[in-house]
């Protein structure tokens, strides 16, 4: 497995360089995982991407580097300590660096000779491919996906110049991933929503949720989907509810700050029983927090947001593949139970590129919008049923009158203050929880059955925990295992109760400061975690970091 960092200032073209590189590596057979570490600015500062690739499955990042591509001197200063002894630092010869690992190429002169100073990234791409023993075949095609036609030829030449400027350093590893997908979590989520029949998406731009909106917008015309940029998040969620009420499968997406604005309407979806999917691509809060970075600190907020009591579902996303299937399930569950479904992603999931097997939409069946209702007799939108779910007619689609109300209402949807009707309607809505619980999925179990120490985590902790369990078990086979929750609320308990009995110690691993999943587990089951590994600096914990914390004694506290 190899790990290369490409770093520079915002605006230097890191994103394009990495997009071409990761595509080339994946098409060569590697499993590739790219993490993006960007500052909240458009120019300057220090940004980098970590491109990790290998012939076995790569699904998380590492801070231990085999190579650094430095588009500025800051990158060398910040990261050379992470570089292995036989690693390389590829940079322009104008950058002064007193490090024996430096491979200086006169990129600036080459670029000038080629007639455009902005092709340094392609020179670097060519050089990296050579360093890792990759052929240059296919570079033209890979470049064309990220570079405008009029700059294509010059970038092709630049890649060749870079390729010729260095010698091979690392052997090519033969992988089987050429036919896999290379996709970001947000892109996978957008495809899942489209596959589920999304017709209306309303949102207000907010990092790191905007890539989801962009991924939907670029396909909207072809799909027959309306993507509407709302005036604020309150409008965005009320629009999604209005569209869903009128029969268009609808979703809104945001990050924590926008989600905070949406909470009253979340309750509207709950009491009015309008299916709704809300995506929260989490970032560190509170308030503005760290806008372009990652955290898992909205869990307890999501499960309790909005006044009053109503059934809701909270799902989380564990990796790029999960983003596709979880969002499809979210639409199915929202429709079947006529409730709001909150999907928790985060910057790490959303912005990273994942190598995954072909996505199969047929794996998830999504309930059709609305129900066939008897066209004779009066229609009761909130007819009291055993399951708590009432047949849903779509207004304007048939002769029925469909009335929904944010006030407490009777079965016909008319406002009421009757004590009896209030209790009847609360009970009807809350009864849905039994049906919901039966549909939710148990956490993923990672490790072997003879474990001793059990990690618990949720969402994007899947990749770090999977790697950590592997690393820790290398020395002590079978000692460590992990449960990583995808569906988080209502909390699936069967596997947790089962595995926790066997564990001598339970260690909570989360990307937040308070251990929110551990708190939810304690509240729901009484199970108390013995130790916690928490990170809240905005940078995703890696598998290696978890293992190191264990070796340092985190499980002996």
């Amino acid at each position: 497995m190899y790990n290369v960092l490409v770093g520079g200032a915002a605006g230097q073209g890191i994103e394009t360089t990495v997009a071409v590189l990761e595509r080339m590596l994946k098409r060569s057979g590697y499993s590739v995982f790219t993490q993006k570490d960007f500052m909240s600015r458009v120019r300057g500062g220090h940004n980098f991407s970590l491109v990790r690739f290998g012939n076995e499955g790569v699904f998380g990042h590492s801070y231990h580097l085999d190579g650094i591509v430095a588009l500025d001197s800051t990158t060398i200063r910040e990261h050379s300590s992470q570089l292995s002894a036989d690693g390389f630092i590829l940079c322009d010869s104008s950058i002064e660096a007193d490090d024996p690992r430096v491979i200086a190429i006169d990129m600036n002169s080459m670029a000038k000779e080629l007639g455009n100073p902005r092709v340094s990234g392609s020179i670097a791409t060519g050089a990296i491919l050579k360093l890792f023993g990759e052929p240059l075949e296919g570079i033209d095609n890979a470049l064309s996906a990220s570079i405008k036609p009029k700059y294509l030829e010059i970038n092709q030449k630049a890649a060749r110049r870079g390729f010729e400027a260095v010698r091979e350093r690392f052997p090519h590893l033969t992988g089987t991933h050429a036919g896999d997908l290379l996709i970001s979590g947000s892109q996978a989520m957008a495809l899942g929503a489209i596959a589920a029949g999304l017709r209306f998406y309303s949102a207000y731009p907010m990092s790191p949720a905007t890539p989801l909106m962009e991924a939907l917008a670029v396909k909207a015309d072809e799909v027959g989907l309306v993507v509407e940029q709302a005036e604020d998040e309150i409008a965005a969620i009320n629009m999604a509810i209005g569209a869903s009420f009128a029969g268009a499968r609808a979703m809104t997406g945001t990050s924590g700050g926008g989600f905070s604005l949406m909470v009253e309407a979340l309750g509207l979806s709950g009491i009015a029983e309008v299916p709704l999917v809300v995506v929260d691509v989490q970032r560190p809060g509170p308030a503005t927090g760290l806008p372009t970075r990652t955290e898992q600190s909205d869990l307890l907020f999501a499960i309790s947001a909005s006044q009053g009591e109503f059934p809701r579902i909270v799902l989380s996303v564990r990796n790029g593949e999960d983003a596709f299937y979880q969002i499809m399930r979210a639409f199915d569950l929202a429709e079947r139970f006529q409730v709001p479904v909150i999907v928790l992603s985060d910057q790490y999931i959303g912005d990273s590129s994942w190598t995954i097997t072909r996505l199969d939409p047929a794996r998830i069946s999504v309930a059709p919008v609305g129900d066939e209702v008897d066209q004779k007799g009066p229609y009761l939108r909130y007819r009291d049923t055993d399951s708590g779910v009432s047949p849903r007619a779509i207004p304007g689609d048939g002769r029925h009158i469909v009335a929904i109300d944010s006030d407490e209402h009777d079965e016909a949807g008319h406002i009421t203050e009757s004590a009896r009707m209030r209790v009847q309607m609360v009970n009807k809505r809350m009864r849905k929880i039994d049906g919901i619980k039966a549909q939710l999925k148990e956490p993923a179990f990672i490790g072997t059955d003879n474990f001793d120490v059990l990690f618990i985590g949720w969402g994007s902790m899947w990749a770090p925990l999977t790697e950590a369990v592997g690393l820790l078990n290398e020395g002590k086979e079978g000692c460590y295992a992990a449960l990583v929750f995808g569906d988080v609320y209502p909390l699936p308990q069967r596997l947790l109760l089962d595995k926790s009995k066997q564990a001598s110690r339970i260690i909570d691993v989360e990307q937040n400061a308070t251990g929110q999943l551990a708190e939810l587990i304690r509240r729901e089951t009484g199970i108390v975690c013995d130790a916690r590994i928490l990170k809240y600096d905005g940078r995703q914990i890696s598998g290696e970091e978890i293992a190191e914390r264990i070796w340092e004694g985190a499980d002996n506290r």
Binding site: G179, D180, L181, L182, Q187, L191, I194, A195, G197, L198, R199, F200, S202, A220, D221, V223, G224, L225, V226, E228, A230, E231, D232, I234, A235, N238, M239, A240, I241, G242, A243, F245, A246, G247, A248, A250, A265, L268, A272, R358, L359, P361, V369, I394, P395, G396, D397, G398, R399, H400, I401, V402, A403, I404, D405, S406, D407, G413, H414, I415
Partner: protein
């Protein structure tokens, strides 16, 4: 249409609920006019969506037999816009109060004008908050005393019609509950207009607004009349700024604008959005793009 057919139609929109309004409330007139307007346009209740927020005015969908979206305070417009986007065959009417429209939902008001989804927005403008028992509204006049504005209202009233015209609305009108026939006509024209249409409806609040009474309005309102040209935007702005000794009624401004459905690529052609499905082959092709 025969008189008999008329009465049958009227029955269709009639809903026999007891109302929560005070005797003498202007909302009764608005309800009667709305019923008459919908019936007069020959609409079926199942093809009409009434949307409202929260407030005394916002209870109007409860008392009419039509599809109803009784949402959150201030948020009727975005929900109604999206419902219309989802099903262009629905006739969408937002009928709700001045607090809903110009206070809590003021931002949505401006952006609904920009978006220009084809719907009619009827604002029951009684210049006071009724359901919360008599606080100043965004259109309350300076100096009006309430339990909250104990020294008199010190915030200048906003001028919704001037705002709407300045923001680019294509249909801006004012009605008065005391002028029944004109109000019905304005409602019908607003519903028939292709795009966002605002009718600000002056309506006394007999319980909490002792200043802007029927008599107060009657002394001031006048009909713009047939000599007025509603296509002149600058003239419309001048007329809209008139609110004091004389208050104009009628269509202040009307112009053709391209509605949302003709601007959005997806909606330009094809069946209503909610009737569409996604071709699985298209999804497969999108997935292939990531190989």
């Amino acid at each position: 249409m025969s008189a008999q057919a008329d009465s049958v139609r009227e029955e269709e929109f009639h809903c026999a609920s007891e109302t929560a309004w005070c005797p003498g409330c202007g909302n009764f007139s608005i309800l009667a006019c709305l019923k008459e307007a919908l019936e007069g346009l020959g609409l079926e209740p199942s093809q009409v969506l009434l949307a409202a927020g929260i407030g005394q005015a916002a209870k109007i969908p409860q008392y009419l037999n039509a599809n109803a979206f009784c949402g959150l305070h201030g948020r009727a417009l975005p929900a109604a816009e999206a419902a219309k986007i989802a099903n262009e065959h629905l006739t969408v009417v937002v009928s709700t109060g001045d607090g809903d429209s110009y206070g809590e939902g003021a931002g949505h008001f401006i952006h609904a004008i920009r978006r220009n989804v084809n719907l009619a927005h009827f604002v029951h403008d009684n210049q006071i908050y009724g359901l919360t028992k008599g606080q100043a509204s965004p259109t309350s006049m300076l100096g009006i005393k309430t339990d909250v504005q104990v020294d008199g209202n010190i915030a200048d009233p906003l001028n919704p019609l001037a705002i709407a015209i300045a923001a680019g609305a294509g249909f801006v009108a004012r009605g008065f509950v005391g002028h029944h026939d004109q109000l019905v006509k304005l409602m019908k024209e607003a519903i028939s207009y292709e795009g966002y249409a605002l009718v600000d409806i002056l309506q006394p609040c007999v319980s909490f607004n002792k200043l802007n009474t029927y008599a107060w309005y009657n002394e001031r309102v006048y009909d713009l009349g047939s000599s007025y040209d509603p296509s002149d935007r600058m003239a419309a702005l001048a007329v809209a700024s008139e609110f004091g000794e004389r208050i104009p009624l009628g269509i202040l401004y009307k112009a053709k604008r391209v509605p949302f459905h003709e601007r959005n690529e997806t909606l330009k052609s094809g069946p209503p959005l909610f009737k569409r499905t996604t071709d699985p082959a298209l999804v497969d092709r999108f997935i292939e793009e990531y190989v």
